[in-house]
Symmetry: C2
Subunit: 246 residues, 2 copies
């Protein structure tokens, strides 16, 4: 469980307790406002071992290092129309991925949830179905529901043959950074909103779940694209010495 | 939702919030230690209307008056071997009963849960599956899980034809009291543990879900039994004037 920018330390403690009741132990905290904290200890009520072993990170990339499948919580559908699953729908794939490599559930801050940048790093978005007029679950309550659903799903889960071995988080992020750099270099963003387009591309690759070898191929294509573009540019400048290079 | 003897007012507020996120509004409190309370208000975070409208009762019978189906939470199987359902298993019947008459979910105190007397008043026992070494969910977390399960179940629920119209709580309690009195009068308890036996009889009738008419029949049988017993006793005393009446 990864909690991003948690404001109230009591929620961290309550989340730890919620996790432990469902057999989950590994808590990651991205820039918590107050931690460690006496309120966190008080709300943990017997799950203080999870707090002692919690890993405090300074970025979502650090927290998700080595993770191959991340489920991000979302309060509602975002502007980009992507699939948002229910907790129950998301669990089978989470369990399947967890068979071989680390997986994560990512929870945002109490007031505003996850940023678009953070949800963009996940392979699945999940919304806990709630009353439309009052839909904001307490953070620890959301952790409890997700941990509970995972526990119930795990009890009836039967491992299945897995055909792909998806690349970990940091390799995907390397691809996205390379892609964005390349699209910028080839001038693609002059007619597109870069942030929005990168969100769409992240969704596309999130669905595809690329393996390490496939990421190498994609990055190879990007490298060649840049080199080709650089060659074109240098030839153009040779032929038009009067044009100013920018 | 009925919370019995809640110790920490913050849990009442958090439970109210959990309920409201899932569209539930009616909160009953049996002898809360502190209520109303500023901590309850703080934890309700927008669900303070549920706290204002909460009904404070002095007994479980008062809280369940008019209720036809009660789900009681249990941390583990009790000594009497009765069926304990998962939250998911319990929801269809709860929803079916709720179509026509009030239903309830009953939660015990933070430290020790519900008493055997309280669970004996329910038609179904539910245990939230949890880690065997650390199974104690926070009260509000348990309310959140149950409210969430109800909400998910309600979204896919299709009403079905209902054949019986079960009698409300107070009529069942009337039957149990009558039954216990009668069994005591006929001397049945001299060879049986009364509390344990009544728990078993409560289970039997909870499964049967008697209608009002059936309860009238059962109580009619009890009345005749007592009268028959009284006649036997008076005849015996007439024939044996030397025996002291106790």
């Amino acid at each position: 469980m990864v909690l991003s920018h948690t404001t109230h330390p009591g929620n961290i403690g309550a989340a730890a307790r919620a996790m432990k009741t469902m057999g989950l132990r590994q808590l990651y905290l991205i820039n918590p406002r107050h931690f460690p904290d006496a309120q966190a200890d008080a709300m943990a009520a017997g799950a203080d071992d999870l707090l002692r072993n919690a890993v405090v990170c300074s970025s979502v990339d650090e927290a998700l290092h080595g993770v191959v499948f991340t489920v991000a919580m979302t309060a509602r559908r975002r502007d980009i129309s992507i699939e948002v699953k229910t907790p129950r729908e998301a669990m089978p794939e989470l369990l399947q991925q967890a068979e071989r490599q680390p997986v994560a559930m990512l929870f945002g801050t109490e007031m505003s949830g996850l940023t678009n940048e953070e949800t963009g790093k996940a392979q699945a978005l999940v919304n806990i179905p709630a009353d439309t007029d009052f839909s904001s679950l307490n953070l620890a309550a959301a952790v409890q529901v997700m941990a509970y659903e995972l526990n119930v799903a795990a009890q009836s889960y039967t491992p299945s043959a897995q055909e792909i071995l998806p690349a970990p988080h940091e390799q995907l992020e390397g691809l996205y950074a390379h892609l964005e750099r390349t699209l910028s270099e080839i001038g693609f963003f002059t007619t597109q909103n870069p942030a929005r387009l990168m969100q769409r591309l992240r969704r596309l690759y999130a669905r595809a779940r690329p393996e390490q070898e496939e990421i190498n191929i994609l990055r190879g294509i990007l490298s060649v694209t840049t080199e080709y573009n650089a060659r074109l540019k240098s030839r153009y400048l040779e032929e038009h010495p009067d044009v100013q290079q920018n």
